[in-house]
Amino acid sequence: MYPPNFDYVAPTSLDEALAALAGAENTKVLSGGMSLIPLMKMRFVRPTTVVDISRIPGLDDVTDDGDHITIGAMVRHATTASHPLVQEHASALAEAANGTADLLVRNRGTTCGSLALNAVAADQPGAALALNATMHAASVRGTREIAAADFFLDAMTSALAPDEILTKITIPKGGVSTYRKLGRRGGSSDYPIAAAAVWVDVSDGSVSDARIALNGVSSTPYLAVGSAEALVGSDGSADAIASAASHATDGVNVLEDLYATVAFRTHLAGVYVRRALEDVLA
């Protein structure tokens, strides 16, 4: 497994990186490289230019910005998993990071890289949806903000343009969240066969707001709107949770693969929505 040749640039400023992306065809942004490098080794991806953003200062911070937290483009899964700010305000994302691949991969792979790639078996996109994260994209054309709900288009396809870098994500504070999954080897490690990320806001004993996202279930992660609707306004009881879980795959084209039939995956989606909600509403 030997990658084909390519030009490599490692800019030390965002502007340089954006210029490099704008100035060449068939470029790829390299952050942690845990997906891109294996894909290049298998020659499934053959960029002519690789833009390594790891030497740009300031992209590897997790910061508290008042009503939201910010996770920079070069923040690794290991940091996302263990950072107190993420654990406090975006525990679904911390848990997703902690269950991604293995420690060695988590030491290199980045949260933003995983979101930008939007692989079917990624853990991060569902958490980003449930947490209502905002994606901050930059290019020589300027910057723009993309809501998580508008970001994940299809398998391996996000709303990013080829010349854009996902420079950071921001996650609003408030509510409680969690991420639960069944992995390929069983248990909660490895790629998800099905996973649920849930976020709820509870006030005065009733669920005032909720977002429920699933990943690994369809070709792209999605918000289970019907599940959230069933929950909001309820008392978060077992019945309300069961009702929410029953809508986990409404209107969704559920995937079949080596690890699950449509029926099993549909069932799992409900089970994991229920288990995740039981966690946050306990």
């Binding site: 497994m1 990658p3 390299l30 294996p38 060695l104």
Partner: protein, 166 residues
């Protein structure tokens, strides 16, 4: 491209293609063949080395990404003729059979014990989750890390892994 990388304390400057993987740089440019290649896709961990204090899979890192970094490989773990406690643990507890995964397993274990001096069995298993072993069923590897941890804490290592070979 010109890179400058410190490996096991020695600084190396080399001209490399951007596509050269770090593991191939170590093995074929520097001749450090202790770091192995067992898969293509970053699963097996036989290529694990420590870069700037963090264990990573060197088959999924470009040499140019390591420019300016400090790399530790299995060849740099022992203190001269004196084995590292992790190496000693693997020897004492039969933590290796064919030995192919061992250098990567040792690097992950060294890094684990550097950040957690007294890991539980579960923490040990999580710490080496990215390193596949086909020979041992991981049983004696867990024991080896327990032995090494005890030794590094100044405790009796034989007590820490008393179930070995039972």
């Amino acid at each position: 491209m010109e890179v400058s990388i410190t490996v096991n304390g020695a600084k190396h400057s080399s001209e490399v293609e951007p596509r050269l993987l770090l593991v191939h740089y170590l093995r074929e440019v520097l001749g450090l063949t202790g770091t192995h290649v067992g898969c293509d896709t970053g699963y097996c961990g036989a290529c694990t080395v420590i870069v700037d204090g963090i264990p990573i899979k060197s088959c999924s890192m470009l040499t140019v990404q390591a420019d300016g970094c400090e790399v530790r490989t299995v060849e740099g773990v022992a203190n001269g003729p004196e084995l590292h406690p992790v190496q000693e643990g693997f020897w004492e507890c039969h933590g290796l059979q064919c030995g192919f995964c061992t250098p990567g397993m040792i690097m992950s274990s060294v890094a684990l014990l550097e950040r957690n001096a007294n890991p539980s069995e579960t923490e040990i298993r999580q710490g080496i989750e990215g390193n596949l072993c086909r020979c041992t069923g991981y049983h004696n590897i867990v024991k080896s890390v327990q032995y090494a941890g005890a030794k590094m804490r100044g405790e009796d290592p034989k007590g820490a892994s008393s179930e070995v070979a039972s």
